[in-house]
Amino acid sequence: MKRTGATGGRSASLLAAYGAWAVSLVVAVVFLSPLVWMVAASLREEASIFGGGWWGMDGWTLENYADAWRRAGLGRALLNSTMQVVVIGGGGLLINAMAAYAFARLEFWGREGVFAGVVVLIILPVEVLAVPLFFTARDLGLTGGHGAALAGLTVPFLAKAFNIYFLRQHFLSVPATLEEAAVMDGAGPWRLFWNVALPAVRPALATVVVLDLLAHWGDFLWPLMITTRGETRTVQLSLANLFTQPPVQWGDILACAVLATLPVMLFFRWFQRYIVATDARAGIK
């Protein structure tokens, strides 16, 4: 559906292109306006957020950010959330890649059966399991203070059926000739995996990490259940807390929302190409 047509006069197509630009620009502005408003309003004094006088020079302030940081305990919360996504992203990647590699490249009895079992698990939403999972986490000592809470936030989500499935598809498409050369050099399974297979699927690995980062940065239900202390709150919980903490200060809440989004946005430019890659693949499933 290429737009720049082969038929039609040059000037007509030029006009169409400008029209498309104008329409796109308007739609884009409307589409993004909630987020633009979020950032702008977070810089406004409380009284002028819902009131008028937006175009004046006064009424702008950075105070909301200082207040939000203090009232929501954001320093701690950002650290907690960062540790959470780093552990899941990093630790999970290795564990899932290993399993995926085994399913793709190693011959063993019952491989297809076990793999089918893993695929079935993809459909299970975490919400269904949250309640019994909560008891499992408790029984394993994954509730309580800092270390235990971090473990509780991460360990249950290290292994992911979808990631295993996704990475296996990519390992399958690594040409066998690549491995054969290494086998000649006498490489064992671990070295084949680490030195040959993993580098070959690097974009897929990045995709998995990015998806995990995004999903778990926004986690809400599970942290709500598993973190039983103020100091183990994640960013989203701190935001929800501030949201309902009287007196309700819209400016503070918006500033907190911006701060909770900033880390993801900073990485956005870097990881957008990987997201496009995933959906192209996911669509084939």
């Binding site: 235990a148 360990v155 103020g230 903490q245 007196p247």
Partner: protein, 429 residues
């Protein structure tokens, strides 16, 4: 073997290092005797008062190395948070909980008995309602710093305009239900909206709390005395009769079933307000001398007032029960806890000697709050099934106000609660 090392490193980072850090924290905690305390998040003023109370406690006990670590959770999810922590076996040492929930917590073995920490004399200084709400099977498990009250506020000028007289006798005792309905009728005829019942309240608890007195004053009850049987109690003849009387107020359009304005009395749209102590300050400011307050109208012989509020308890698994109880004593102590918190939230002080700090209790409406708590208040049922009971009863009240047939609706609620009771009771035997 490389991967073993790698996995090991990851797992250590996750649990290992974490554990050592937890260990350190616990060592620290042992050294300075930290009492972990949770509280619901109230208004900012109330939170500030709580923090100051905690700071004063820490300062007073610095020499013993004892201090409290206070955490607030939003009001709406506080009960869930406590339940989660209880299920996770990570309850704080001391926490406040809503009075009617005490029985459930005691039944689950989560609260430590506190009777031994107060002398008879000290307990006599507490309002009887406060001791009653924290007592299960004759043992004391929780005490609060403040209590609550619901009264019928009225606007003298508006009532006079409609020709409704409030005699001194009525002011003291409240109306009978017929007198109340008659007064509403006169107001309606005069073109004044009669009464606000706050049916828009999202919390189920408002309904049970504010309207149980109707049932009680008609001689009925919500659940049998042993707290494990509702059959024939919730849908008793008395209750059907009492709630039919209650329903007329909505049926005749005297009170809105779906109000949109949270405070129609305060802004002069409604002549009377069936509401709590927390409105007293605002109403006084808005009305001044026009404001009157009387006991809730009674269906039967005797007016009954609701009561109950947040109560402090100590976890049965507290690191050190005595230290946790020390905090509860502090926060329910007259000058250390009751006076500052009541100043901040305007509730009714739970201790008799604390009233001397609040001169407004010589005047209405405050005088009425104390009076009815001392003489006419009844605590909500103390039963492990309270959460179910209040939910189903509130749902029934909402429907009845909108015109549901009273007897059938009560029977439905009764059957629902009874089913839950039987499920759990069976499991216990």
């Amino acid at each position: 073997m490389m991967w073993v090392v790698a996995v090991w490193v990851v797992l250590m980072c996750v649990s290992g290092c974490g554990r050592s850090r937890v260990g350190q924290r616990e060592d620290e905690a042992e050294k300075v005797n930290v009492i972990r305390v949770w509280s619901h998040q109230g208004q900012e003023a109330e939170n500030r008062a709580m923090r100051e109370i905690a700071e004063a406690f820490n300062a007073a006990h610095a020499q013993r190395g004892v201090r409290v670590e206070l955490t607030f959770f939003p009001d709406f999810q506080y009960a869930e948070k406590l339940a989660i922590a209880a299920a996770a076996r990570d309850l704080p040492d001391a926490f406040d909980l809503d009075g009617p929930m005490v029985a459930r917590w005691v039944e689950a073995g989560l609260l430590a008995e506190l009777g031994g920490f107060w002398t008879e004399e000290e307990l006599d200084d507490f309002l009887p309602t406060i001791v009653e709400q924290g007592t299960v099977d004759g043992r004391l498990y929780a005490l609060g710093a403040f209590d609550s009250a619901v009264v019928l506020y009225y606007d003298r000028v508006l009532l006079a305009k409609a020709g409704v007289e409030v005699s001194a006798d009525v002011d003291a005792k409240g109306w009978t239900w017929d007198e109340f309905v008659a007064a509403c009728g006169k107001l309606k005829t005069a073109g004044i909206e009669p009464v606000a019942m706050h049916m828009d309240e999202s919390a189920d608890e408002w309904f049970t709390y504010a309207f149980s007195p109707v049932v009680w004053s008609g001689g009925g009850a919500l659940i049998a005395k042993d707290g494990a049987e509702v059959r024939g109690v919730l849908a008793s003849g008395e209750n059907v009769w009492s709630l039919r009387a209650w329903q007329t107020v909505f049926a005749k359009g005297y009170a809105a079933t779906d109000p949109v304005d949270p405070n129609p009395f305060g802004n002069g749209k409604v002549a009377m307000d069936w509401s709590g102590h927390w409105m007293a300050r605002g109403h006084l400011a808005a009305k001044g001398g026009r404001l009157g307050a009387m006991r809730l109208p009674r269906v039967g012989e005797k007016a009954v007032a609701p009561c109950g509020s947040w109560a402090w308890g100590v976890s049965a698994r507290a690191k050190n029960t005595e230290l946790a109880a020390l905090w509860v004593k502090w926060v329910t102590g007259v000058e250390t806890g009751v006076v500052p918190i009541v100043r901040a939230n305007g509730a009714v002080p739970a201790r008799r000697t604390a009233f001397t700090f609040f001169p407004e209790y010589a005047e209405p409406p405050y005088r009425l709050f104390r009076e009815q708590l001392e003489t006419a208040a009844r605590a909500r049922p103390r039963t492990p099934y309270y959460a179910t009971l209040t939910g189903r009863f509130a749902a029934a009240l909402r429907d009845i106000a909108r015109g549901a047939e009273v007897e059938a609706r009560l029977r439905q609620a009764e059957a629902e609660v009874q089913a839950v009771v039987e499920r759990r009771e069976e499991g216990r035997r």
